[in-house]
Amino acid sequence: MSLESVDNKDVETMNPPVRLPRPVVRAARTPVPEPVTGSRLKIDVEHLSFFYGEKRALEDISIKIQPNVVTAFIGPSGCGKSTFLRTLNRMNDIIAGARVAGRVCIDGDDIYRPGVDVVAVRRKVGMVFQKSNPFPKSVFENVAYGLRINSMTSSKSELAGRVEESLKQAALWDEVKDRLHESALAMSGGQQQRLCIARALAVKPDVLLMDEPASALDPIATQRIEELIYQLKTNYTIVIVTHNMQQAARVSDYTAFFWLGRLIEYERTDKMFTNPTEKLTEDYLTGRFG
């Protein structure tokens, strides 16, 4: 078999020249910003509990998430980390029988206060899902969707500009600029996930929630997503749920460890991974359970 006949779509080398991201330890490279308090906090959660019907999925969670850093949520399957992530943009509202108690303040405003515009909350707090979910439309229309429904641009050229800008931010522009009007579903898994990130960035959110964004991707596509997360944190506050502890160590500045619906420990990543306070955290990080 000749080398050319290998289907390289999955490793995303269809559009040469390919620049693979350098494998670097990011946490060691950048200083974590000084923690802020009060209304300058990006997300301030107080005594949040969450119920699916009678079942309590999250128990009395309080956490203060810093602006312009990457915060990782880790923990074993079913520990509530994804459920908690979805309370931060009220995505759990669409689940029948779901109920929330407590406060989630974003920039000081409680998003569960009666009368809050959920649409405005979700525009401010964007989300990328575990399984990439591009709409069955063209690449361009996928990115333009949020801009169109929120009437965020006033002209065609402005719309095209924002689409291009978002695709560049998501490091996808060079690969798709010649096929903007082709179906998004024809792209590889890694490209689809970056398209979903571009789509989320297009509406200019403040916060980007990522629910295991790389769990369905191969190592090279994963590396690209991680590189992207690292670049995006200068402009966005990022919260990422991950199963992969090495990934949490690589990309995040702060890490929160969840277990059985409770927040066990929340610390700077470098501290948690070298010297966790809780015995439970240490057991999980060293692979004794989970």
Binding site: V119, R122, G126
Partner: protein, 285 residues
Amino acid sequence: MTVSRTPAPRTILSALFVGACGLAVLLALVPLAFILFFVISQGVQSLSLDFFTHDPVPVGESGGGMANAIVGTLILTGLAAAMAVPIGILSGVYLSEYRGSRFASAVRFAADTLNGVPSIVIGVFAYAVVVLPLRHFSALAGGFALGVMMIPIIARTTEELLLLVPNALREGALALGATRARAVFSVIVPAALPGIITGVVLALARIAGETAPLLFTSFNNRFFTTSLTQPISSITVQVFTYAISPYEDWHRQAWAGALVLVTIVLICSMAARIAAARVARIRGQ
């Protein structure tokens, strides 16, 4: 290890069973083959250009066609679609969006019941609510009767197709700040559109072949008309009228009408499938 040369009993049983299934399929296809054979062999003889361009002629005169009935059928199915497509699709959206609610279950049950109501009963209903108040037969009444038949088909097809759209698409739209209605009409319905189009065209093909609901709603008309308030001819009623007549000429016309009707239905079915496949391919699904 030795390999036995005689097949095991289970292999024989399996072959017998697959053979029986194949035979059943053949038997099921026999009536279709006969219908097509008779309709084509009998219909082709009387089919000519005149058949499409001329109106019926009185008994005894030769020639004439069904131009009025062909146009009538198109008008009647068009009226039915204009009524049933919006109502049917919106009901389908409601059924899939509020699938858990009690009202949705009631609507679903009502739609299934309506779907099972004999078409002659729907004709009587249309007679009572449209023909009697207007005091005469009309294309509107016929279109109404066919529309009533189409609504439950389209509603249930739409519902089932919308339920097939992955929930991840809805979440993706909502996460971008879409309202529920916006998510449904800009993402979920378009994702199911190829299937919905197929469903609508198949429903059209089905009602185009209905006779009973038209007998006392649109009635029949020997003359060409496009007026919606006048009685109008349709291929099915025309075939019925000719077929029960004692005249050899009319029997031949009836066969030709049947052939045209079958052809229209087949073309509709194929067009629907091709259109759906094309839309799906453009989207890369």
